[in-house]
């Protein structure tokens, strides 16, 4: 005969055993002892069948209640033991969080300042509707000089310090382009106006000292249509400088000058306030209205078409903007220099996000 008191005693005993179980294995042993096939609670359940019906109901309820409560206690204890076991494991897994990780490639890689500035310049001029034109480094005398209104023996040729190749059997001599201006010619020969292009690229002069390298980069702009005039040229240069140097206002000085391929021609100086150094003028570019002879040489009618061209040193404006002191370092491949003056891969210049920020 089993009384409620016995059930209660069994419950107390089981709860106490559950509480005493120190690990999951111990708890499992308690579970088997209580709820296993031959467990104490299963035992009670087994008696139900042999009970008179009038007792069976009350007893059944009591045993089920017991089973429920013991089960709950076990679940609770199990969760607690699991928590404890996990925290013990975690305690053994403590790492030294101050150990350094490897820098990833995004930190190691760099973009060369000239490339960065190239992208910046393209971004600005694309917004003004300029496409990007390119041409070969090895040029003919005709495209580098003659078509640009620099005939043979013109004194301007001497200022170009040209690299030449050996004469061909027919006497002609190829050369390394001394400026990006042949791209103007190639563009005008290929394309009908209206034309708006920039032509960035490598150029070569047979010259080497602190401020000259035998190879450097220029960028040229060309606009040809029926109405573009010197006022547009000034505006274009001013807008470019404001955008490129990322300032609201620039002060510029326009001086008359001479280039065989433009007429009128002007040199442009920029107030160095744009790069935070007020009080000096920086020569930044040469410019002018495309010479009628050049337009004619490209098979266009200078009575109908006019426009402007300007050119500047890409390396030079990179140096000005980013405070790079020496042109020669641009081409030295010095890792220290590249890491210091180079740009991170994701520093992509955009007009929306800012060119340098």
């Amino acid at each position: 005969m089993t009384s409620n008191a016995d059930i209660s005693a069994l419950e107390n005993a089981l709860v106490s055993e559950i509480g005493a179980a120190d690990d999951l294995a111990g708890l499992e042993r308690v579970r088997i002892a209580a709820l296993g096939k031959k467990g104490s609670i299963s035992d009670l359940m087994a008696r139900l069948g042999s009970m008179p019906p009038e007792e069976r109901r009350a007893f059944g309820q009591a045993v089920n209640g017991l089973k429920q409560r013991v089960g709950d206690a076990m679940e609770a204890r199990k969760a607690e033991l699991e928590r404890r076991q996990l925290s013990q494991r975690l305690a053994t897994e403590t790492a030294d969080v101050t150990l350094p990780v490897r820098p990833g490639p995004l930190q190691e890689g760099r973009i060369h300042p000239v490339s960065q500035v190239w992208d910046e310049v393209v971004e600005i001029f694309a917004d003004m509707g300029f496409a990007v034109a390119e041409g070969p480094d090895i040029e003919t005398d005709d495209l580098n000089f003659s078509k640009l209104n620099i005939p043979p023996e013109h004194p301007a040729r001497q200022e170009h310090d040209t690299f030449y190749f050996a004469p061909k059997p027919d006497g002609s001599r190829l050369l390394l382009r001394t400026h990006t201006s042949p791209v103007q010619i190639r563009t005008m020969l290929r394309q009908k106006p209206p034309i708006r292009i920039i032509a960035p690229g490598r150029v070569y002069r047979c010259d080497s000292d602190q401020t000259h390298t035998p190879m450097f980069h220029q960028i040229e702009a060309l606009v040809i249509d029926e109405t573009t005039h010197l006022g547009h040229l000034k505006w274009c240069i001013e807008e470019f400088c404001k955008a490129f140097f990322e300032v609201d206002e620039v002060r510029m000085r326009f001086r008359a000058s001479h280039f065989p391929f433009t007429e009128p021609s002007m040199e442009v100086d920029l107030d160095a306030a744009a790069i935070g150094k007020p009080g000096q003028w920086l020569e930044i570019l040469g410019s002018g209205m495309v010479h009628p002879n050049v337009i004619r040489n490209c098979g266009l009618d200078p009575e109908k078409y006019q426009g402007f061209a300007f050119g500047m040193g890409l390396d030079r404006i990179a140096m000005l903007k980013y405070g790079i002191p020496d042109l020669r370092d641009m081409f030295s491949g010095d890792l220290r220099w590249l890491r210091h003056y180079g740009f991170l891969p994701l520093d992509v210049p955009t007009l929306a996000g800012g060119l340098s920020s």
């Binding site: 150990l99 490897r102 490639p105 995004l106 890689g109 760099r110 973009i111 060369h112 992208d119 694309a126 917004d127 509707g129 300029f130 990007v132 070969p136 480094d137 090895i138 005939p151 043979p152 023996e153 004194p155 200022e159 690299f163 190749f165 050996a166 001599r173 490598r202 070569y204 047979c206 010259d207 080497s208 035998p214 190879m215 606009v223 573009t228 005039h229 010197l230 006022g231 547009h232 000034k234 505006w235 001013e238 000085r253 001086r255 008359a256 000058s257 001479h258 009128p264 021609s265 002007m266 040199e267 009628p292 006019q306 081409f331 030295s332 491949g333 010095d334 890792l335 891969p345 994701l346």
Partner: protein
């Protein structure tokens, strides 16, 4: 082009300040490179008189002088042998800085006698190298005692240095510069000096000839000369010497100084021959091969038949318009002279100048084009100055030939100024600008005729006239005008290749490579090692032998940069460059490569030593990873390319490959650089490298912006592993291809997860373990289906490669 303020004022009546003049010159196209005032460093020194010079009590060679400085008498110790009572000299007070010695004077005793200043030599003032004694001024300077020395001597004359553009021969003379300034309202151009009394009574005794074949007559179309007999050559007047010195010329003697002076003053070079040294007639003609003469520069020069020379009956005397000869030059002993004032063709002068390498003031002017209307006037001016300085009796002028015609008249519309320059100016202003510059404007209203002055060979057309008007009005006054915007929102402008270059650059940098820019030319040996070095790509005038050949590849430059960095202590580094290289000298031979090198342990994922595990040395697979990633970034699936073993010989033959699309398109090549190549370039290995040919990539097909529908299977993929034993020479790629081809619909991926070579497999064998992913589409695969596919995979691999499933 250098000139002084006082020289300018010979031609320009002006009250403008030095700063105003300099600013205006630069603005109108005569760029002022510097304005220096030699008087500034001489400012502290004053004219003084030695009242008394006595022997120093304690030194034989020193004298103690009482010096009247204008503000009292001071005691000065002087070591100069010529210091004596009564002489006029130059005094430096205590505290002044002596330019020639760099010393600032302080008060100190010299052998027991305190010196309160110093008497100066020419060297101490940097006036000359003379240091034999202190400066002795003529006695009539006694009344200038106490006055600043520089002012008294006219040395406080600012010197302008103008960088002339090649189109302005008129401004190679001071008068031309004055004319421009006058046009820009900075003063008034003074009238020309009147020259008279130079035309003699007797005929020029030296015959002057022009001996040219018909086709070369333009070499020297006009040669004017005049004989002056009985000159007395000697130093030119002090004011001439001073001006020449101020602009950096050495005074020689009166006859030579006159030619130099007129060259600078009027942009008109001349030559004066010692007539007694001439044999027979003097003539301009073409040179003959092998003819030589000794030039005024002391060097022997050789003529050829393209050059214009001046010769007498005996020999060549000089290059016309470039350099005179020493033998017929004027010395102090010269008594009779022939003055030459000729016109030499700019082109031929430039060509001869370039060929001979002679830089001279005459060449500088003739090759830009001297004023053809100033031949007779130039001759007369030179005669007048020579008569004034050396005396003598002039002959009649003799002129051979005639000056080239220089009468350009242009039709011009003032409206052109607004059309081309975008500035609206009043017609009278434009007209007066042109007139001030020497143009003659005739006609009224819209269309006018403009006669170009003879000294402006640079003016050919209407654009030139617009420039004249606008530069004088001031380019700063041209209003900026916004360019019309074609579209509200700007469209993309880059070509696909340009876009790919941008992406490639960012993709490679994002893989940890550092971008560099190296020279387009390299040494011929390095070019040869990389498939270049041919004659066609060799520069005729390289800056050095290291930079003489156009590069056939970007690798030599990158490898050299790599080694320079290693020599600085950076062992693990990865560099790349995107740029052009050259297969030949035609435009289509130039190609664009994205090239990278990795050295040491500089892999994209890990590099260097680390507590988590050290990185291994770079290998061909690092380069392959770069290529595959880069191709993907540029829209090309590397899996569709063929891998071939024919990389160039500068790669390791067994550890390199090419990626090709069909037989024609070479996408990339990669691998480890050949140890011999590295050795020849003095680069330590191993180096993994790749070259990807951006402009060889097939164009990306234009797709619509919308993506196709996503086809994501909901069913779990099934993975099965296979290990095959194969001949070691069987490429893994063949095994993968065979496995993947076993059921193209079901197999979505084949991954090599183990490679094993060991004795247990037998000699020349390897084991390759594949993980094959099967993606069921409609319903879960049954075991039978999986077995069937597996069997097909095994069969396919065996068929294609002979590989056996590993037991």
């Amino acid at each position: 082009m250098k000139f002084t303020l006082s020289w300018l004022k010979d031609h320009l009546e002006t009250s403008a300040s030095v700063e105003e003049l300099a600013r205006t010159l630069s603005a109108i196209g005569l760029e002022v490179e510097s304005v220096t005032n030699p008087g500034e460093k001489l400012a502290p020194f004053i004219v003084a008189r030695v009242v008394e010079a006595k022997q120093h009590p304690n030194a034989d060679r020193l004298r103690v002088c009482q010096v009247e400085t204008g503000s009292g008498v001071v005691e000065v110790v002087c070591g100069a042998p010529n210091a004596r009572s009564g002489m006029i000299g130059v005094f430096a007070p205590i505290g002044s800085h002596i330019p020639g010695t760099g010393i600032t004077l302080d008060k100190r005793p010299v052998r027991g006698v305190v010196s309160n200043g110093m008497l100066l030599s020419e060297r101490e003032l940097e006036l000359s190298d003379s240091h034999e004694g202190i400066i002795e001024l003529p006695d009539d300077y006694a009344k200038k005692v106490g006055q600043p020395f520089a002012e008294v001597m006219g040395l406080a004359d600012p010197v302008f240095d103008v960088k002339l553009t090649p189109n302005r021969p008129d401004c190679t003379g001071v008068r031309g510069i004055a004319r421009d300034l006058a046009a820009a309202h900075l003063g008034k151009l003074k009238p020309e000096r009147k020259v008279s009394g130079v035309e003699g009574t007797y005929a020029c005794p030296v015959d002057i000839k022009l001996d040219f074949p018909k086709e070369a007559r333009d070499a020297c179309p006009c040669f004017a000369g005049r004989y002056v007999k009985g000159v007395k050559n000697g130093p030119s007047p002090a004011w001439v010497q001073q001006r020449l010195k101020a602009v950096g010329l050495r005074p020689i003697n009166a006859l030579v100084d006159v030619t130099n002076y007129i060259s600078l003053d009027r942009g008109r070079p001349l030559h004066v021959y010692d007539a007694d040294k001439l044999k027979g007639a003097i003539r301009a003609r073409l040179g003959k091969k092998g003819e030589t003469f000794k030039g005024l520069d002391g060097k022997t020069h050789e003529a050829d038949e393209t050059m214009c020379v001046i010769a007498d009956d005996r020999a060549v005397l000089g290059f016309g318009g470039i350099l005179g000869g020493e033998d017929t030059g004027c010395t102090e002993a010269t008594r009779n002279v022939l003055i030459e004032c000729a016109y030499f063709d700019p082109l031929r002068t430039a060509a001869t100048g370039r060929k001979t390498g002679i830089q001279s003031d005459a060449r500088y002017r003739f090759e830009r084009g001297v004023d053809p209307a100033f031949i007779r006037p130039g001759l007369d001016l030179a005669t007048a100055m020579i008569l004034e300085f050396t005396g003598g009796a002039p002959s009649k002028a003799k002129v051979a030939g005639a000056p080239p015609e220089a009468k350009t008249t242009l039709s011009f519309s003032f409206a052109m100024v607004e059309k081309l320059a975008g500035i609206r100016l009043k017609e009278p202003q434009m007209r007066s600008t042109l007139e001030a510059l020497g143009f003659q404007v005739s006609g009224k209203g819209g269309e006018v005729k403009v006669a170009v002055p003879s000294w402006r060979p640079d003016i050919h057309g209407r654009a030139d006239l617009v420039e004249e008007i606008v530069r004088i009005a001031g380019l700063d006054t041209v209003p900026s005008a916004p360019m019309p915007r074609e579209r509200g929102v700007a469209r993309a402008v880059l070509t696909q290749t340009q876009r790919r270059v941008q992406r490639a650059r960012r993709a490679l940098a994002a893989r940890g490579l550092v971008e560099t820019i190296t020279w387009s030319f390299i040494s011929r040996a390095a070019a040869g090692a990389f498939g270049g070095g041919g004659d066609a790509l060799e520069l005729a005038n390289p800056i050095s032998a290291d930079m003489s050949s156009m590069r056939p590849s970007l690798l030599p430059g990158l490898l050299a940069a790599l080694q320079r960095n290693r020599n600085r202590g950076f062992a693990d580094l990865a560099l790349f460059e995107i740029g052009q290289a050259y297969r030949g000298d035609r435009p289509e031979d130039q190609f664009l490569a994205a090239t990278g090198v990795r050295a040491g342990t500089a892999a994209a994922s890990v590099s260097g030593r680390h507590w988590s595990g050290n990185a291994g040395m770079v290998s061909l697979f690092d380069a392959k990873a770069d290529v595959v990633t880069l191709l993907a970034a540029l829209g090309i699936d590397a899996a569709k390319a063929q891998t071939t073993r024919d990389a160039p010989a500068y790669f390791h033959p067994g550890r390199s490959a090419c990626l090709r699309l069909g037989p024609k398109i070479l996408l990339a090549q990669f691998g480890e650089i050949h140890p011999e190549t590295l050795r020849d370039l003095d680069v330590a290995g191993p180096v993994a490298a790749f070259e990807l040919f951006i402009d060889a990539l097939p164009p990306e097909k234009k797709k619509s912006a919308a993506r196709p529908m996503l086809e994501a299977a909901d069913l779990m993929p099934v993975r099965r592993d296979f290990a095959f034993v194969l001949d070691a020479s069987v490429p893994a790629g063949d095994v993968i291809k065979a496995a993947a081809g076993a059921d193209k619909a079901l197999i979505t991926q084949v991954n090599v997860f183990d490679l094993f070579e060991g004795k247990s497999l037998g000699e020349g064998k390897k084991s390759l373990a594949l993980e094959v992913t099967l993606q069921p589409r409609d319903k879960t695969l049954t075991d039978e289906q999986i077995e069937a596919v597996s069997a097909k995979i095994v069969a396919e691999v065996k068929r294609a490669t002979g590989g056996e499933i590993r037991a």
